[in-house]
Symmetry: C2
DNA sequence: TGTACATCAGTGAACGCGCGTTCACTGATGTAC
DNA sequence: TGTACATCAGTGAACGCGCGTTCACTGATGTAC
């Protein structure tokens, strides 16, 4: 057995406490907002002294970065799982919505107001790029059934983000469109901009999805 | 002359100082984020003592609410101005994008991560509803040229948000779609999610707009 | 199985800091007669 | 024009608070022989 799988009781305990700290951090995030996230408050809730948390996180910033990393990783896993049965945009979209509604503050950790001056570490941005792959698979457009738009030709030359994925420009465009449209409907819903308006946000979301997968006008 | 227009020097001075406080608050917001917005720091920048600001704002929360109110009012004015020459969705869309890019943190004051527990006062939410009118005008769909979808019939019965606007369900749907799609593309751009991806966000935005105003497939 | 040592989780005291907010005050500006 | 008074902007001291973080320490857990 390689040392990879070996885990001492101490390591297991460490991982457990780290997880509990993050759990309380997420709760604080959901209850009072990101600005109120404090190590001392978390420690108090856990029945520990403040400095004890420094055994587990080097600083408050490291904790927050870890929460962001977890959020990205969780979304990436959700996408991968939804794509396991084959490329399927509706499956991806509903997985995204379910994931977002399950705890909205985690969604805003990724897609919310950016903090001026904050730059996510490389491993986090690489997870973000990883999310694109299942989306591109699900957005594959069979033949060039539509005339190339100026944006398509632009995408032909600006496809670094596809990360080697051999998608046609129309597919690239469709992936970006799916991303922005679903995010648009979802983020307004999660932020509460639809509350009091009367209509059912889910119907708007699925209407957007239907339009993406094949508008009735076609 | 009614007392409405009369403005004493003192009143003018007050308005000036209030405006300057808000200017510094916006700068702090853009530089350090919402959590770092502090009355003491603003006072220091203005060469005043901390308590002096309490002549102008009853509390930190009132300042923030005022900034949010200003943001909504500014967006509503921008929309009204863009619609002055008649209903025109592209004009509205480009006005929105220009307004948002002019200072992104103001956009996020409205559409960014919601603060748990914060509820905007009624006058602010009424400005938010006011913004819908020009959008509905610009999204008018001539006849029922498309078969009614389930979402259309749902909107028929859930149109409180239209605030008496006599728009057809297809128009209501188109307005919601325009809102969410433009917001989706814009918010991801402003939050920096497209940086490093290579393509030009403006082309994506206008592609979405083109699709809204009349897809080439039709 | 027992002893000696190393590792490491957690504590309590302490640091300096900046925050929002109150209060009693000074001094300048405006108003009434 | 001058005097008496009211209004109000701004100050400085003070309040209690919670924050992130450091440090030297205690005591429990694990390791080596």
């Amino acid at each position: 057995m390689a040392d990879t799988g070996a885990e001492t009781p101490r390591e297991r305990y460490r991982a457990q406490v780290r997880a509990e700290i993050k759990k309380h951090a997420r709760e604080q995030l959901a209850t009072a907002g990101a600005s109120a996230l404090s190590l001392n408050a978390i420690a108090k809730r856990m029945g520990m002294s403040g400095p004890a948390l420094y055994r587990y996180f080097a600083s408050r910033d490291e904790l927050i970065t870890e929460l962001i990393r977890d959020a990205y990783r969780s979304l990436a896993d959700t996408f991968r799982a939804a794509a396991a049965a084959g490329p399927d945009l509706p499956a991806l979209a509903h997985a995204l919505r379910g994931w977002a509604l399950h705890d909205p503050h985690r969604y805003f950790l990724i897609y919310g107001t950016p903090v001026p001056g904050y730059h996510a570490p490389d491993d986090v941005t690489s997870i973000a790029r990883e999310i694109m792959a299942p989306l591109l698979d699900a957005c594959a457009v069979p033949p060039p059934d539509t005339p190339a738009t100026p944006f398509h030709t632009h995408l032909e030359d600006h496809r670094q983000w596809a990360d080697g994925h051999p998608a046609a420009p129309a597919t690239l465009h469709r992936a970006l469109t799916a991303w922005t449209r679903l995010h648009g409907a979802l983020s307004l819903e999660l932020a509460g901009h639809f509350t009091g308006m009367g209509f059912d946000p889910e119907l708007l979301f699925t209407a957007e999805l239907d339009d993406l997968t094949g508008p009735p006008t076609r």
